[in-house]
């Protein structure tokens, strides 16, 4: 077994993972000269780096959110964006190669395979194993060290089939033709996936959007994801929205904003909805257990399938996944990264 844990070329620091020979950071939580970014969620992709290496889709998302293509607001650091396609290998210098592999989390999300001195390390970023019409599916790749997320790393988290949740949503809609169903969903990824799944389930009526979702939906469409007819809530009357689905970011659910809607039934699409009290805390009436993360079985199955020498766990319920590794005689350690899970789920 390779001796991996001691002094190593991959070093977890509180604000990100440092790849020492190439002096590059993975998903750093603060501005660095050179960063590899797994996907566009704010807890992984921060603005202000000197050079950002990511998939073209992730770079487009970061551009939309941080306008990284131009100079930053202070005008100090000229930004360089380095796009890398899935499957393409980039030499980072210092004898380190990086390859981007689909992670199935959101549009453009990637696992990053790092190779150095004959050793393979994969950093999953966030990932899921379920089919998602809005992004490329997760691909299993062999490695020596598997650095995994653990957002839903507790055995209570098993996500039901998304078709069940869509059926729940559509039957609530049908049962209350004078109201609307307001679905809280994260602006990047979840909202577009829910819309695409609704279309796949045969729901072709216009879907109304909170203004904060508009640009990201448009970006998805530009990348070939068809979302059907979308309308902005602000351009329509209460009467027009009766019997419709309205999508909004979670922060808008209990906001004054929702008063413009026709007696909304509050729904929320999130893996946390599996826990009743979590739904109650948010005042959710119709919980939809839909997650863009791997559930407990998928996390553990993936570790077994990848079968690495060693598993490192970055963020989430790392204690339980660590315990699972111990029970299955797998070498594992938890990394304490700060600032994760602030925007996303």
């Amino acid at each position: 077994m390779a001796q991996t844990s001691g002094s190593h070329w991959i070093r977890p620091e509180p604000w990100g993972i440092h790849v020492a020979p190439a002096d590059v950071w993975v998903d750093p939580g603060r501005a660095v000269p050179r960063a590899l970014v797994t996907h566009g969620h704010a807890d992984h992709a921060r603005g202000g780096h000197g050079e950002t290496i990511a998939t073209p889709e992730t770079l487009a998302i970061m551009e939309l959110r941080y306008r990284t293509g131009s100079q930053d607001e202070a005008g100090e650091i000229p930004h360089k964006a380095v796009p890398v396609e899935y499957g393409e290998t980039l030499s980072l210098g210092g004898g380190v190669d990086a390859t981007f592999i689909p992670a199935g989390h959101v549009l453009g999300s990637a696992q990053i395979l790092l190779e150095h001195a004959g050793e393979r390390v994969i950093i999953t970023g966030d990932y899921k194993r379920r089919a998602d019409p809005t992004c490329a599916p997760f691909k299993v790749a062999p490695c020596d060290i598997f650095i995994t997320e653990a957002t839903f790393g507790l055995p209570v988290f098993t996500h039901p089939p998304i078709a069940d949740e869509m059926a729940k949503l559509l039957s609530a809609l049908e049962a209350h033709p004078d109201q609307c169903v307001l679905v809280g969903a994260y602006a990047l990824g979840k909202a577009q996936r829910v819309i695409a799944e609704l279309r796949a389930a045969g729901h072709s009526a216009p879907i109304y959007l909170h203004g904060a979702l508009e640009k990201m939906c448009r970006l998805y469409e530009e990348h070939g994801v068809n979302l059907g007819e979308l309308r902005l809530v602000s351009n329509h009357s209460k009467e027009e929205m009766q019997g419709s689905i309205v999508m909004a970011p979670p922060s808008a659910l209990n906001d004054r904003w929702s008063r413009r809607l026709p007696n909304p039934i509050t729904a929320m699409a999130s893996g946390w909805m599996r826990v009743r009290q979590r739904a109650r805390q948010r005042g959710v009436e119709l919980p939809l257990v839909i997650s863009d993360h791997a559930d407990w079985n998928e996390l553990t199955d993936t570790i077994a399938e990848v079968d690495p020498q060693e598993t490192w766990i970055t963020h989430g319920r790392e204690e339980a996944l660590l315990r699972w590794c111990e029970l299955h005689q797998r070498r594992a350690r938890a990394l304490a990264l700060v600032g994760r899970e602030e925007e996303d789920e």
Partner: protein, 530 residues
């Protein structure tokens, strides 16, 4: 069981009170006897299966799931029933799941030995919602945002009867309440409860806050720091009830033979003490009373050392006369007249506090130093005796709390509404000069007194400053000062500091205050009064 499970599940996600009432009422109308009676008992917290405890569930789950994974899951979810129902291996569900009353029958038949063996078989016959409902029923404590009062109101609404009348019969009847349903649903005669020494819901007070009252219309009494009780004698049999209606007769046997007439009386249970309570009359502090609470049998030594008596506030019924609709002054006169018949060894009357006006009363309240006094009660002279909290009739005006600055040391996740948030805080005071290397010793624990927004901020602080984990408990860096409010402080073996506070709550979060400026143990110890 399916309908009941669906009802519970829907109630969890319903925030509107009217909608909850409608859902429960609809269930009660459409479900046959005795299922609906058992369901009503479950919602009002009246079911009790001594063989099934939360620990029973925990133990057999730990045989099925790795104990560490179970503990981590339970800690995160914050609810044993929900954790177990989520972790239960899903399989083939019974086509014909058991009814609510079949479940009740099976649960009642269990004992401590058979429960761990037979419960799993019962759970196997149900789906995830059914399992959640079953464990909730079996272990009590629904935590679904439905109070007993709400369930009774829904019952009244379902059958168009008055909730006051329901309350009147409630405590004399037992689940599944056939007589109650026969009366309300089918128009039968009201249940005959005349010969049962039953509990009547207490009249309660609102906090006075900024209200000022005119003493021409209000009378003032001390608010005694004991436990509020109701003494009921019917047909020669006496019972003692706590504020929640629990029968605590067995804990205070000395009070069961001393009431010479049939009556329903409202008062404060106190124990005799000679240390304090001087001019207002020999009651010991709450700490002394605590020695007597929660005991099923009482030793002679206890009876001799901490003899209990009742300080009477009000008379509801005296020798068959129901006084509850009369004004307070009239009931007070009846109570004063009654005192002559009661043995002074076990009864006295809560004296009226005389004051010239409201400001004078405020002065008297400020001046009192008696530990058996919690503050003042203000009662409208024309107030009838009405169950619950009716605005404008009774006010409580508590003494200002004591305050001390403590440092956050440990945090634990909360339950129910606060599940998965770190909302239970243990805090400490310095055992000397913090600049000379003194240490913090835990002095108390609090889980209230902050807003939801503050809770989020505190939760984040706990996650970001964790030093150690001991199971569900996180030890945090000493960075935050809480101004803690509490009613009193006593010596205790519970904390290393040897001190325990009564009803501590977070008064203010001092984000600004350096921890070395927090208070010392000796400051807290100086506030002990017993």
């Amino acid at each position: 069981m399916k309908d009941f499970a669906t009802l519970l599940d829907t109630l969890v996600y319903t925030t509107s009170r009217n909608r909850k009432l409608a859902l429960i009422a609809e269930y009660l109308r459409e479900t046959p006897d005795p299922d609906r009676g058992w369901a009503l008992a479950a919602l009002t917290g009246e079911l009790d299966f001594p063989a099934v405890k939360s620990s029973t569930i925990r133990n057999f789950m730990k045989d099925r799931v790795d104990p560490v994974l179970w503990t981590l899951s339970r800690d995160f979810v914050g609810d044993t029933a929900e954790t177990a129902s989520l972790l239960w291996p899903g399989g083939e569900v019974d086509d014909d799941p058991p009814s609510v009353s079949q479940v009740v029958d099976q649960l009642s038949a269990l004992n401590r030995n058979t429960a761990p063996k037979e419960l799993p078989g019962l759970l196997d016959r149900l789906d995830a919602n059914g399992r959640f409902a079953l464990i909730k029923m079996a272990t009590g404590g629904m935590r679904i945002g439905v109070s007993a009062r709400l369930a009774k109101t829904a019952f009244a609404q379902a059958f168009d009867v008055s909730v006051e009348e329901v309350e009147e019969y409630w405590h004399a009847l037992e689940a599944p309440y056939p007589d109650l349903f026969a009366w309300a649903a089918d128009g039968a005669d009201p249940p005959d409860v005349s010969n049962t020494p039953r509990f009547r819901p207490f009249m309660l007070a609102h906090p006075l806050e900024d209200t000022r009252v005119d003493l021409a219309d209000f009378a003032a009494e001390w608010k005694w720091d004991g436990i509020r009780i109701q003494l009921v004698r019917v047909g020669g049999e006496t019972r003692l009830y706590s504020r929640s209606g629990d029968d605590i007769s067995a804990t205070f046997p000395e009070l069961l033979e001393v009431l010479p007439i049939d009556a329903v009386l409202d008062g404060e249970l106190l124990v005799r003490g000679n240390v304090q309570g001087g001019e207002q009359g020999g009651a010991a502090s709450f700490n002394a009373l605590q020695q007597r609470l929660g005991r099923k049998t009482v030793s002679k030594k206890m009876l001799a050392e901490f003899p209990a008596f009742v300080r009477l506030y009000d008379a509801l019924i005296v020798e068959g006369d129901d006084l509850r609709e009369y004004r307070w002054t009239k009931r007070r006169t009846a109570l004063e007249k009654l005192m002559g018949k009661l043995p002074p060894s076990h009864f006295d009357i809560s004296e009226i506090v005389e004051a010239r006006d409201f400001d004078h009363l405020a002065e008297i309240r400020e001046g009192t130093r008696d530990d058996a006094i919690e503050g003042l009660m203000l009662k409208a002279k024309d107030s009838p005796y009405i169950a619950g909290r009716k605005v404008g009739y009774w006010y409580k005006w508590k003494r200002d709390p004591l305050l001390i600055d403590c440092v956050l040391m440990y945090a634990q996740r909360g339950s129910g509404k606060r599940s998965s948030f770190y909302s239970d805080y243990t805090f400490g005071c310095w055992d000397g000069d913090p600049d000379e290397g003194a240490e913090l010793l835990p002095v108390g624990k609090a889980y209230s007194g902050f807003t939801d927004a503050e809770l989020k901020k505190l939760d984040r602080l706990v996650r970001q400053t964790t030093l150690n984990r001991f199971g569900p408990v996180r030890e945090v860096e000493r960075t935050l000062v809480f101004e803690v409010a509490f009613d009193s402080v006593h010596t205790s073996k519970r904390h290393k500091s040897g001190l325990a506070m009564r009803f501590p709550r977070i008064h203010r979060i001092r984000w600004d205050k350096p921890v070395h400026e927090a208070d010392r143990i000796e400051t807290l110890r100086a506030l002990i009064r017993d």
